[in-house]
Amino acid sequence: MLAKRIVPCLDVKDGVVVKGVRFREHQVLGDVLELAQRYRDEGADELVFYDITASVEGRTVSVDWVARTAKALDIPFCVAGGIRSVADAERVLHAGADKISINSPALERPALIGELARAFGSQAVVVGIDSQRDGADFVVYQYTGSAAHTRASSKRTLDWAAEVEQLGAGEIVLNCMSSDGVGKGYDVAQLEQVRARVSVPLVASGGAGAVQHFIDVFQKAKVDAALAAGVFHRKEIAIPELKSALRAAGLEVRR
């Protein structure tokens, strides 16, 4: 049976991993490769690198650290942030990344999703969706990389999820903004609704604070993967123990 994936997310700035206090007072956590290998050794199933420099400053991702990471790493990894065109994606994928993830550029120009899928295959194209509850509904937000620029888009989350699948996205990362950074658990209710709308793999993001949160999101929202940053970086949850707990709960995980 397909194993549920545990995906640590690392924020990269100028080629080093920084603490996820996004866009201010960055504290360097360490070298990209060193941390990537540490998570690989602990049993991470996949890694996401979010290039915050590229995303915020409108620069394209520096491929030096991508190539260095690809040479050493023997598990899949995805690069997010700063990818706005087929040419940007090509540089990152040719440097050895397995997938690229786009968010605001997809909202600005949805046709980009199809262009990327045709050029590289759907399996390489991840669409990130930042979503927040609005009354009984869920709305997609854009430019969430900076507090000053964050704003609601015209899209409803459930419609946008179905649309990006239709356009050729091979995976969706749903970041539930109200839960993000709070550590009180994933937004299971919202993830369940998106799960019911799409048949591509769905990755839960935002809210992991305890082992039970992972068990809940896999069992109730039937997501394929769970992404987390803080709990892993602060060493509050160790991946081997997390996987043992998931296995004990009857979930399939990679050994």
Binding site: M1, K4, K71, H94, G121, S199
Partner: protein
């Protein structure tokens, strides 16, 4: 020398890197004579069957690949190209294995998402194989694909995703893996190492 056939896909760097980590030199090439001279040939592939076959045809590689007698390993789409046809873009493929590659039916209620993406376990089936031996049983590898190979006497291992999915195939000197050994940790590295010793 190990030849990696330049199918133009985006993950060729990953395959080259995997052999470098094993301390083996692999050369990316689309020259028919270099491929014919190689001790081992890797047919990688990411993207769509139609584009990949067009590239092989444009490079004049279809017949030379069919005639190879040294060990050949198709990876992911490269494995699917070994078959007669693919429903993806309704493409005529290399015809080294019988049958048609078809789309994986999604069934979200039963946890069957498409693409089939992530780590899944192998179950050995079929006759003994020099490459796909009993040690593969239960091992987990990284899969990413939306189309799957047909069942047949060439299957040496399968995985489960809504039903049995062929994961390792073999006929004579032609081998194929649906998963990505270059992204499958130590288990993947070991499989590639053993392939280079065939």
């Amino acid at each position: 020398m190990i030849a990696i056939v330049d199918t133009g896909g985006a993950n060729l760097a990953s395959v080259i890197n995997a052999f470098e980590r094993l301390g083996q030199r692999a050369e990316l090439t689309k020259a028919p004579d270099a491929i014919a001279r190689a001790s081992h040939v890797i047919l990688p592939g990411v993207g769509a069957a139609g584009d990949s076959m067009k590239r092989l045809q444009a490079s004049g590689l279809v017949e030379p690949l069919r005639k190879l007698t040294q060990p050949v390993l198709g990876i992911c789409l490269g494995m699917q190209l070994l078959f007669e046809r693919s429903e993806e873009n309704d493409t005529a493929c290399l015809g080294l294995l019988d049958g048609t590659v078809h789309r994986i039916p999604a069934d979200v209620a039963r946890g069957v998402t498409v693409p089939h993406m992530g780590w899944n376990a192998l179950h050995r089936v079929g006759p003994a194989s020099a490459l796909f031996d009993a040690s593969l049983e239960g091992q987990q590898f990284y899969f990413v694909h939306s189309y799957m190979a047909p069942a047949g006497p060439f299957v040496r291992a399968q995985t489960e995703h809504g039903g049995p999915v062929p994961a390792c195939v073999e006929r004579g000197n032609f081998f194929g893996v649906q998963f990505h050994p270059e992204r499958s940790g130590p288990a993947g590295a070991e499989l590639l190492r053993r392939f280079t010793h065939l």
